[in-house]
């Protein structure tokens, strides 16, 4: 009898601890939502959060009272002028061709060994599930997963920032969005929680010759301007990739944007597919857990 109860207790304990691995991450996520909702709640608090913004822009160009899911629009959640332009461009989104091209790639690419993308990704509505932590492999972003699929089937891996990779991701994202999928990043092991913590540490660490951390601009600085551009908040930042950027006049993946951000911070960019970038993306994506998948989307 004793052995039986002992094994039940151990069984119960292991079930409990399996759910605890994302406890810290959940705390962080909720704290972030709390911070941003407070920051953008009311014009009255603006002096505390936006010390360098002019009275005119706070009165005329800001939308206040933004709630959780709205933050996935990035700076267009609060920047009225930007929002107008964004909605105009959305009348005929420039990424529609890329989604069609991605669908072509998904349905009609045949690997030399006869298999196709459908074998690696039987369900294309998976944009909200990546990055994933895979035992033995570490964090895998969608781009890394697509390249793993190519390599496992004897094909050459693709460039991770644009081109075919972005097109295929656009198809996955558009399908996920049409099916109403939410961002669903999972932390279900000690190793995954450690990877999350490393990503978080990198997000909040200063780097480059400007000594900026990601958080300087996208947590503390979100809503403030750098010259003429409003900085977007971390909350909801990864929901809308791959993104059509007017600056690129084309589509780019999360890796492409992170590389660019690195460069802007004054640091030699980390390589797409590196442990650094994957774990950073893991942390960033977790912060948007529960938000609707919004890709592909348009940004400046």
């Amino acid at each position: 009898m004793k052995k039986f109860t002992a094994s039940i207790v151990i069984g119960a304990l292991s079930i409990l601890s399996a759910q605890d691995f994302n406890a810290q991450a959940e705390k962080d996520r909720k704290a972030l939502i709390n911070y941003f909702e407070k920051k953008f709640a009311d014009r009255k608090n603006a002096n505390m959060y936006f010390p360098y913004s002019t009275k005119e822009e706070l009165d005329k160009n800001f939308k206040w009272g933004i709630k959780w899911e709205e933050f996935r629009l990035g700076s267009y959640a609060f920047n009225k002028n930007g929002r107008e332009q964004y909605e105009e461009i959305n009348e005929m989104p420039p990424y529609e061709d890329n989604v069609d091209a991605g669908k072509e790639l998904y349905e009609n690419t045949k690997f030399k060994n006869g298999k196709s993308f459908k074998d690696c990704f039987p369900n294309p509505a998976i944009a909200g599930d990546y990055p994933k932590f895979i035992k033995g492999k570490g964090v895998v972003t969608l781009s890394v997963a697509i390249n793993n699929c190519l390599k496992d089937n004897g094909e050459k891996p693709w460039k991770m920032t644009k081109g075919k990779m972005a097109d295929l991701e656009a198809y996955f994202a558009a399908t996920s969005r049409d099916k109403g999928k939410k961002v669903n990043i999972v932390i279900d092991s000690k190793e995954a929680a450690e990877a999350y913590e490393r990503g978080k540490k990198e997000y909040y660490s200063q780097r480059g010759y400007l000594k900026l951390s990601c958080a300087t601009c996208h947590v503390q600085g979100a809503g403030q301007r750098v010259r003429n551009e409003y900085m977007s908040p971390l909350l909801g930042q990864t929901t809308h990739f791959p993104v059509y950027r007017l600056k690129w006049e084309g589509l780019g993946t999360l890796e492409r944007r992170l590389k660019g951000c690195n460069k802007d911070q004054g640091e030699t960019p980390h390589k797409p597919g590196s442990k650094w970038m994957n774990e950073l993306a893991y942390f960033m994506a977790y912060m948007s857990n529960g938000m609707p998948v919004d890709g592909p989307d348009i940004r400046k």
């Binding site: 009348e91 005929m92 420039p94 529609e96 061709d97 006049e249």
Partner: protein, 99 residues
């Protein structure tokens, strides 16, 4: 995109058309800088059957992949044909059913 992407919707007797044309639209200055030949759309026309519902002369002022919006009186199920011709004389045309 092929040569153009057209959306045509009818509501209360008015058809709302949004179209994006694929064309590099290089002005003379831009072409010189890039070392290419200037080429841009010079004339766009939209027809329903024999009726001209949209007609415009264009030039260097339109930028790459121009986006057009226009409205006209029409009915669901009719067919809109949008065509353009550019400086070099190349043409393109597409027919869509009004939804």
């Amino acid at each position: 995109m092929a040569k153009m992407r057209i959306k045509a919707k009818e509501k209360d007797g008015i058809v709302d058309v949004k179209a994006m044309l694929k064309h590099p639209m290089l002005s003379y200055d831009q072409a010189k800088k890039q070392g290419k030949e200037a080429n841009f759309i010079v004339y766009i026309v939209g027809k329903v059957g024999d009726n001209v519902v949209y007609e415009v002369s264009t030039s260097q002022f339109l930028s790459k992949n121009p986006f057009l919006k226009f409205k006209f009186k029409g009915k669901k199920g009719e067919e809109l044909e949008l065509s353009w011709i550019d400086l070099k004389g190349e043409t393109a045309s597409k027919k869509v059913k009004i939804k």
